[in-house]
Amino acid sequence: MAEFTKLLKEKNVTYRPGGCGKIYTDPDADRARLYFRDQKPRKMVEKTTTVSEAVKKLINDGDYIGVGGFGANRIPTAVLHEMVRQGKKNLGLAGHTATHDFQILVAGKCIDRCDIAYVVGLEARGLSKIARTAIESGVIDTTEWTNAALTWRYKAAAMGLSFMPVRCMLGTDTQKYSAAMEMECPFTGIKYLAVPALYPDVGIIHVHRADVYGNCQIDGIMVADSDLARAAKRLIITTERLVPNLVIRREPTKTVIPYYLVDAVIEVPFGSYPGNMAYEYFSDEDHLRDWLKAENDPEDLAAFLQRNIYGVKDFNGYLDQIGGMARLQELRYQENMVEK
């Protein structure tokens, strides 16, 4: 017993900058508390709106954005396209495996800074030329992190803290270009990197079901969305289906995002297209390949974006454009492994 109590002793230590990167968002937990006290909606009232209204009202040029899902899985495509249509500018982004979402925002020239872990590749699908160029040319300012570091930065914020100790990045150039601080454990002396809490201005998450107040349930992996929803100052939810409040109350264990975290909720069927939505539809690999191919020629890309984003009124217009329900049904068959 004594052995461990001995760990309680006064120590003088030095906190040292562990990297030369930038901190794009305010990690201060007290300022975040005041924001949450004064700005977070406590009223359990209807928050349904349209994607264009939500983007107009809740996303400002210069904001720092956190996008839910994982690259091309359960992403809020409708909101991302609308941000491009509305020409949002100078946005910051949390890039823990942001793939197609990053690609969309880069195509719209919306981003000028990024906390970066994985953004220029689309995993097995290959690399995005425009994403690479944007970073190689310095158009987008970057600070290095890892997927774990970014998810733990969200968690620090979700817990109401200003930092989190982590054991990744240590000793590497990833650390050197991060904005972490070197510290040690007050009890054991174990070396840690302290990563700053990440409170995005806006979080955008696509879910399986939500009620009109914004109580949300997600089926399958959460990725980092439980923490992102809590860390974000403003939160936009798109949902495959709006359901009655009693459907949420029937299985409260499944609720990952309670209404008081949510500022706007919009029903967007197939809202993760061309991304995968677990149990609903698989990713449209042909469409993602076409997009990557179009990036090889500026004119092809311009035409592709005109056809799929600028030239359509809204997300349903996009779905019509890519083949409508016939195509979407094929993707549902793929997801559910129905042989046709």
Partner: protein, 256 residues
Amino acid sequence: MDYNDMELMICLASRYLEDDSIVVVGTGAPCAAAMLAQKLYSPRLMIMFEAGGIGPMLPSMPISVGDSRTFYRALAASSMPEIMETCQRGLVDYTFLGGAQIDQYGNINSTMIGKDYKAPKVRLPGSGGANDLGSLCWKTMMITPQDQRRFTEKIDFVTTPGYLTGPGAREEAGLPPGSGPYKVITNLCVIGFDDQTKRMKVESMHPGITKEKIVENTGFELLWAENVTVSDAPKEDELNILRNEVDPYRYIIGRG
């Protein structure tokens, strides 16, 4: 039976994943190796994906480490923090990484080519979870083609820690003691790491590969095991299962 480099590397890698161990894999060759191991050698190999999938009944090769295949009939569909914290807690035995450059201590670069971080010659995909897995899992394995460009004395950017600058360097940096690079499986040989120096040590050369060929495809001095053996070529059942069950559409082995 004939085979290409990718098939060779996947078959060899699959033999190192012992049954009843836990591995976090990415898409591509690592996932193929894990699936092959599960079907042939280690039926209870526990596969995790960094986005949250735990122990799925993989119906086919995932396209993303977060797509729905990664938690199809899984034991648990969890979260990214859950997987990363399971690694940090010391429960994950193996991980599999790739990269554009690797040095003699197993440090990996998957971030950029060039000298200036602010103006890279080429920006690569980046760490994603690679640095986390290479920092926190017990044994890191790598699957990579071997040539002078990739196996280089000085890599442009240390994305993921190998043994850093040598013995004791990981511990000195604060990384969990006892973790680090384990095997590097290339198209030419299987490489381990020397206990004393923590430098790469060739353990077996693939059939038909000479020491000279390996040397001329390596940008630093390799150590050689007492008795360097010849790697067992891919077996017929390995290739059959890999081609017919694991990667029927040749997504991965097609690149070999």
